[in-house]
């Protein structure tokens, strides 16, 4: 292992308003090594990356590159200094309507010293040099929009590497690649590692991490919660550092249920996925946990009629259940609090009251005319029930804190009785007190329905659920009654044993 770090950060801090996102992060990257950065959503990974790549200004702390102080004010400065970042969204890295050659040399079109005229011959010559150095075998005249995602990404990386960087940051590069495409990327990363580039690789995919990592750094809540560099690498330890229990919270009183509400049999949520079978009982709160991208949202959406399963059957309260649309799911009593409320939940033009009544207009109207009094009464009731902090039910959603916005999203669906209540990442971007409120409310009102939570963080599952199911690679791989949970086994299941390692 190389002793001296190429890149070194000490005590990096960053706050957005009141909210501290990074609380003193120190990180070293070594030449010729792949350092994997793991962390749940909101742990501060992307903030850290954006500080290193010059997008955000750091709040406090120092950074050094190859022994010199490193303080980029813009992404361009970071690139010039030798720190290159390939962002998660592949199409952000390339211009789809231009050809490969222009894309490879795009950053030479502007900046001081760039020639005024666009000379296709020169561009192709430069592009060829870039492509050759990378061993990139793509037709330089092809339009990027005609390339596969993997090829587009290769183009983005090749351009990044034209600057001969000392540090390369890859932010979830395989999230939209097939496994064959990912293999090509891994081969490239191996080659760069041999050339002595220090690589920071951000990923949730255990199979990627097992394939590439020389070191693993786990982040949690804005700090580094573990560094693992002894071979063989302790993958479960890394997952534990990223997700595991911080503090021992109050044990919940675990309930068992006899009355089956939902029975799933042989459900396959994607081509090539192993079947899922499970039952959910009346009054029970069940959490499904697993890393990002293992199919939790796909399962939630299948249950809610957003997508159709490949195979399998569902039985809800004794009747066959196969929703063709969200409307049918709601009519059958299946409600979903979707993840990412900004994207999937909040109607920005509506106030609290209108957001709460959204799914149940039909039940709240007479001859298609909305009964505003009933709407208002319902909203006030829900604000009271969930302790939503606001001036009145007429407040704009943008005036609320993240936790209160999420409470409105939950309140929306709790205004009516559900048969099956599904919540996908209900605690994302929610402060701890709002999280406790929501969890307590879910448990207190659990009788008369089955409640199904999808969470990435183990704590959230341990705090709220009677039963915890572990999901990996689009199927359920483990089940735990939430009393004396065998955390080692649970973490091993989350991390996915070598048996499941094919991506």
């Amino acid at each position: 292992m190389v002793g001296n770090a190429v890149f070194r950060a000490e005590g990096l801090r960053k706050s957005f308003g009141q909210n501290e996102v990074l609380g003193g992060v120190s990180l070293e990257l070594h030449a010729g090594e792949v350092t994997v950065l793991m962390g749940a959503n909101g742990a501060g990974k992307s903030t850290l990356v954006k500080i290193i790549s010059g997008v955000y200004e750091r709040g406090d702390g120092t950074m050094g590159l190859a022994g010199q102080a490193f303080a980029p004010n813009t992404p361009a400065e970071a690139i010039r200094a030798g720190v290159v970042t390939v962002h998660q969204n592949i199409n952000d890295g390339v211009v789809a309507d231009l050809d490969v050659a222009t894309n490879l040399t795009l950053d030479r079109l502007s900046g001081s010293g760039a020639p005024f005229l666009f000379n296709p011959a020169r561009v192709r010559r430069q592009a060829k040099a870039v492509a050759d150095r990378m061993g990139l075998a793509i037709d330089l005249k092809a339009r990027v929009s005609d390339l596969s995602l993997a090829d587009r990404q290769m183009v983005a990386i090749a351009r990044a590497l034209a600057h001969q960087p000392k540090v390369l940051i890859l932010d979830e590069p395989t999230s939209s690649l097939s496994s064959a495409e990912a293999d090509r990327l891994f081969a490239l990363i191996d080659r760069l590692r041999e050339q002595g580039v220090a690589i920071l690789y951000i990923s949730h995919r255990m199979s990627d991490i097992r394939r590439l990592a020389d070191r693993i750094v786990s982040m949690r809540d804005g700090i580094i919660s573990g560094v693992f560099d002894k071979k063989p690498l302790d993958y479960e330890g890394a997952v534990n550092a990223m997700l595991g229990r911080k503090i021992h919270l109050d044990q919940i009183v675990v309930r068992d249920s006899a009355d089956i509400v939902l029975k799933i049999d042989g459900l396959r949520i994607a081509q090539g996925a192993k079947p899922i079978s499970l039952t959910l009982g009346d009054g029970e709160v069940v959490a499904i946990t697993g890393l990002v991208g293992v199919g939790k949202t796909a399962l939630a959406e299948t249950l809610f009629g957003v997508r159709k399963p490949v195979a399998g059957t569902m039985v809800l309260n004794g009747k066959p259940y196969a929703p063709g649309s969200t409307g049918e799911a709601i009519a059958a009593g299946v409600f979903l609090v979707a993840k990412d409320r900004g994207e999937n939940g909040i109607v920005g033009g509506f106030n609290i009251q209108e957001n709460i009544s959204l799914p149940f207009h039909k039940r709240m109207s007479r001859f298609a005319v909305l009964r505003r009094r009933l709407e208002r009464i319902t909203a006030r009731q829900q604000i009271e029930e969930l302790g939503i902090v606001c001036r009145s039910e007429k407040d704009e959603m943008s005036a609320l804190s993240g936790g209160n916005q999420q409470k409105v999203m939950v309140a929306r669906w709790m205004a009516q009785d559900a048969g099956l209540f599904i919540l996908d990442e209900p605690f994302q971007g929610v402060d701890i007190s709002a999280r406790r409120d929501i969890a307590a409310k879910l448990r207190a009102s659990a009788n008369g329905r089955a409640t199904l939570l999808f969470v990435t963080e183990l704590d959230e599952a341990l705090e709220t659920a009677d039963r915890i199911l572990v999901m990996s690679e689009q199927t359920i791989v483990g089940e735990h009654r939430n009393a004396d949970v065998d955390l080692d086994r649970l973490l091993a299941e989350v991390a996915g044993g070598p048996l499941h390692s094919a991506a």
């Binding site: 957003v306 799911a329 033009g349 509506f350 709240m364 005319v369 909305l370």
Partner: protein, 331 residues
């Protein structure tokens, strides 16, 4: 509420009243029932169009084909009565059908063929502008015209149909209010009630604000979008009927300004009462605002060719009100 909030909320209404007060002083005869009716009548046709396009704006779309739907409906009404020698009812039904069908096709193009709304309706606009000329080889339709095959069209606009453009109801003063104004007011109240008070209208706003959230709340988003274009098409065809009844012939050259005037009225409506979103009341006020301004200027002998310039200025000011001052456009 701060002064700024008040300015955003009531600024445009104050401007409207200020304008009326100014013209009342500056222009003789501006304040009279006849003058008021004249203003309403002048905005009736574009007002109905604007109310229709408001429905598509509410679901986050846009309908550029409304002007050409109106002129197509006008030509169709003339063709049905003059060439096919049918009665007024048939003509009206044909027009409404054209509007509904064009709306359905627009909706289908946008929802199922994934053509962006502006492009789909732009294409439809072109198509209709051409289509309405084909049956008569580009000629206007009037009684006694010679058809392409040499025969003479002997039908005529029925009196019942012409009454839509010419009959006036008594209202305190005999023969005061034209049918077109009544149609405008009825449609305005209908669409306003529909958008503000029914669950369908509410869900249309939800679709326009966050389509994904509306879908996850169980709404058939595609159907709502298609319906919005059908509403827009039908309203446009109604305004085509009014146009035909007013002109009494199928005039190939009329209706050039309909689209821009209607869109301007709907967009000015964003600024009314600080709504910062499409709304039927605002659209009606927007149409009225333009009508009052033009009527006042005309009575003060401003030349006709300055009209478009004035409308443009009003529109730009209204858009600044909506997007810069209220800050809601940034979301």
């Amino acid at each position: 509420m701060t002064l700024r909030d008040h300015a955003i909320r009531y600024g445009f209404i104050v401007l409207l009243f200020g304008l009326v007060a100014y013209f009342a002083i500056a222009a003789d005869g501006f304040v009279s029932p006849q003058s008021a009716v004249f203003i309403f009548q002048s905005v009736a046709i574009t007002g109905v169009l604007a109310l229709g396009v408001t429905a598509t704006l509410v679901v986050g779309g846009f309908d550029l084909s409304i002007g050409s739907v109106a002129t197509s409906a006008m030509m169709a009404a003339a063709y049905v009565m003059v060439v096919l020698e049918q009665n007024a009812l048939v003509a009206v039904v044909v027009c409404l059908l054209i509007g509904a069908i064009v709306g359905l096709i627009n909706g289908w193009l946008i929802v199922y063929m994934r053509v962006p709304d502006l492009l789909a309706t732009l294409g439809m606009m072109f198509l209709l502008v051409g289509l309405q000329r084909i049956p008569t080889e580009g000629r206007s339709i009037a009684t006694g015209m010679t058809m392409p095959d040499g025969s003479v069209a002997n039908g005529k606009f029925s009196d019942a149909f012409l009454a839509l453009g010419r009959h006036r109801f008594d209202f305190f003063i005999p023969n005061l209010i034209p049918v077109s104004v009544v149609v405008l007011l009825v449609l305005a109240v209908l669409i306003w009630f529909f958008l503000e008070y029914t669950r369908f209208g509410r869900m249309m706003y939800a679709v326009g604000s966050n389509e994904r959230a509306a879908e996850l709340a169980g709404a058939p988003v595609k159907a709502y979008k298609i319906w919005a274009y059908v509403i827009s098409g039908v309203f446009a065809s109604i305004s085509g009927i009014l146009l035909a009844a007013r002109l009494g012939r199928g005039d190939i050259a009329s209706g050039n300004n309909l689209l821009l005037d209607a869109v301007a009225a709907a967009l000015i409506g964003y600024a009314v009462l600080g709504a910062a979103k499409p709304n039927a009341f605002g659209t009606a006020v927007g149409a009225l605002f333009v009508g009052i301004l033009l009527q006042g200027l005309t009575m003060m002998n401003a030349p006709y060719y300055t009209q478009d310039f004035v409308k443009g200025v009003v529109l730009v000011v209204a858009l600044v009100f909506t997007f810069a001052l209220s800050g809601r456009g940034r979301r």
